[in-house]
Symmetry: C2
Subunit: 337 residues, 2 copies
DNA sequence: TTGTATGCGTTATCAG
DNA sequence: CTGATAACGCATACAA
């Protein structure tokens, strides 16, 4: 048999005070005597009271809930970001509803709508590969609910905040390392260049080529899903090339490692014959020989920063948007071959 | 300027019907004419109405929210499970609030309390390393809110449901493979054996030894955090041993790969001199040469199953608990060397 | 320092 | 098929 829920009214009755006093006493409202506060909290405990966050949110129209939309949960990088987000959110008195768009615009819309209806106080988004426009976030704007893009942000200008890294510069520097070591035939293997992150890395790549007076051709731009299989496939294709490329820019570590592995089993020397660079500094990357040159992409920090920023926007009702760029670190392991 | 929220009352007024009708019309209640339904939904759209899930939950005392507590979000395995959970949850009309215990009992309690106050319809938990008792879940039991443990479950008997794999058998079979190939000096490197998952894998390990008439000594049981650094440290220690072990059971792939890597750089042949087995079948595991013998731990499936099970419990108000054991697959790569 | 009264936006019950 | 009305549990403006 389900006993009825204990409410502040029950506590009030038991203590012969008003519900208002109980409500205040429960949250140590300054204008309530220490003694009554204590009494209230004790009996609340005793009676098995549990506050109803829903009712409270309805009344105050603040849910202390942040919505999060990611393309997928199960990537190394994303789970790191989420870990950072959860940590910071809890520290600041918030919690997270996490949803996946599975890289489709349609699902992203559905998530946004659900989160909107659930009255999240803010929305954190890493866009799907299909996300060309961002109209579906307009309702948030209309209600002044902060929206912040992290990692994958739409092209500027847009009326929302963002936390990213300088992908252009990262792409540039990575490429530069390979060029300085003498590479002249570079391949660029990346994801959907419709996405700003990949687009900017590519731009950085091109800028470096230009600096070294090397021409760029779209023949050397391969778009893939950056998974292990994509890497293996790419490696197979590379082995058919004459002459072989002598440098490969791969837009993530997973794919880079797969490529290296496959090339090595076909007796290609890495980085002797072909240099390979990755992106993310996945934990496994450091275990590889020859170790991979890559970019340490600060997942935890990005998650923390994103949450801190959006909560700042929420609490200070700042209308301004913030566009933040996080530091990254180049991990140049190519010299330690 | 913040416009006031559009409610069913506003729609009612605009349409000259009662709020009750609007409420019904919005969810296609059978006893409302098709025509009115349509009209209602159209004007709702037009007026920029958004349903208030909070108010609805308050009224119906169903939130369609599932609470999830995990030790940490950023592990390969866990993020896979969470991905499966989110997918199934959304398909069934639910969503997830995900929280981390950071392997401490205290935080696990806090999470449970918060989720309890937020009126989750069910709770999914993978226990922290410190979780010796489960009293903090008693309130859920008292309110008949289903609690389901996944992956890491407390020792039976307990009054909750669970979805796990047969860790004993997995540990046994993995060990058996190494023994059949002739190993006689085995090491067991694992996590906190207070946790049932590791404890059971160890029991399976022992059972296999026994079957081969090999003795077991606690000297060969090393408890670590199973991270990359732990693996490197363990490998260093192994190199000091005389004679070397000829088989190492490592309770996860991350650590196993780190160990293999370090041993190989010290000119140990794997699996020639030392066989190594892992656990989880992490994506990178398959890239390794010599490829690792491991257990494919079905993360996605486990997440899906856990959610489906708990929603079944919720919707059918089943008082019974379910203890489910998922299939795993042995990935024996040691022969393909 | 405490109490009174009201509304947050729904839905369920009951009556028409 | 539709309407009136009362909760759901809490927090706050205002009064005392």
């Amino acid at each position: 048999m389900q006993k009825k829920e204990v409410t502040i009214y029950d506590i009030a009755q038991a203590l012969q005070v008003s519900p208002a006093t109980v409500s205040r006493g429960l949250k140590n409202h300054p204008s309530i005597s220490k003694k009554t506060c204590q009494k209230i909290q004790e009996t609340a405990q005793k009676m098995g009271y549990r506050s109803n966050a829903l009712a409270s949110s309805l009344r105050t129209s603040r849910s202390f809930t942040l919505g999060v939309i990611v393309p997928r949960l199960d990537s190394n990088f994303m789970s790191t970001v989420l870990a950072g987000m959860e940590k910071s959110a809890v520290e600041l008195g918030y919690h997270l509803i996490i949803m996946q768009s599975f890289e489709t615009l349609e699902k992203e819309k559905e998530c946004a709508q659900l989160l909107f209806n659930h009255r999240v106080d803010g929305l954190l988004v890493s866009t799907s590969a299909e996300t060309g426009h961002i109209e579906h976030f307009a309702p948030f704007l209309a209600k002044s609910i902060p929206v912040l893009f992290f990692d994958r942000a739409p092209l500027d200008p847009h009326p929302f905040s963002s936390v990213t890294i300088d992908n252009h510069r990262a792409g540039y520097e990575l490429t530069r390392i390979m060029l300085q070591k003498g590479a002249t035939r570079l391949l660029h293997i990346t994801g959907n260049t419709g996405l700003r992150v990949y687009k900017e890395r590519l731009e950085g790549f091109k800028a470096a080529l230009k600096e070294f007076n090397l021409s760029y051709s779209t023949d050397n731009l391969w778009q893939t899903n950056l998974g292990v299989e994509d890497g293996i496939r790419a490696a197979a294709k590379i082995l058919q090339m004459h002459p072989l490329p002598d440098g490969i820019f791969v837009a993530n570590d997973t794919c880079a490692i797969a490529i290296i592995n496959h090339l090595q089993s076909n007796n290609i020397l890495i980085p002797g014959q072909i240099q390979v660079s990755g992106f993310n500094n996945d934990p496994f990357a450091s275990l590889f020989t020859p170790q991979l040159t890559t970019v340490e992409y600060p997942g935890i920090a990005m998650g923390e920063r994103a949450v801190e920023t959006i909560i700042d926007l929420i609490q200070n009702k700042i209308k301004t948007t913030k566009k933040e760029s996080l530091d990254f670190k180049l991990i140049n392991r190519s010299s330690t071959r």
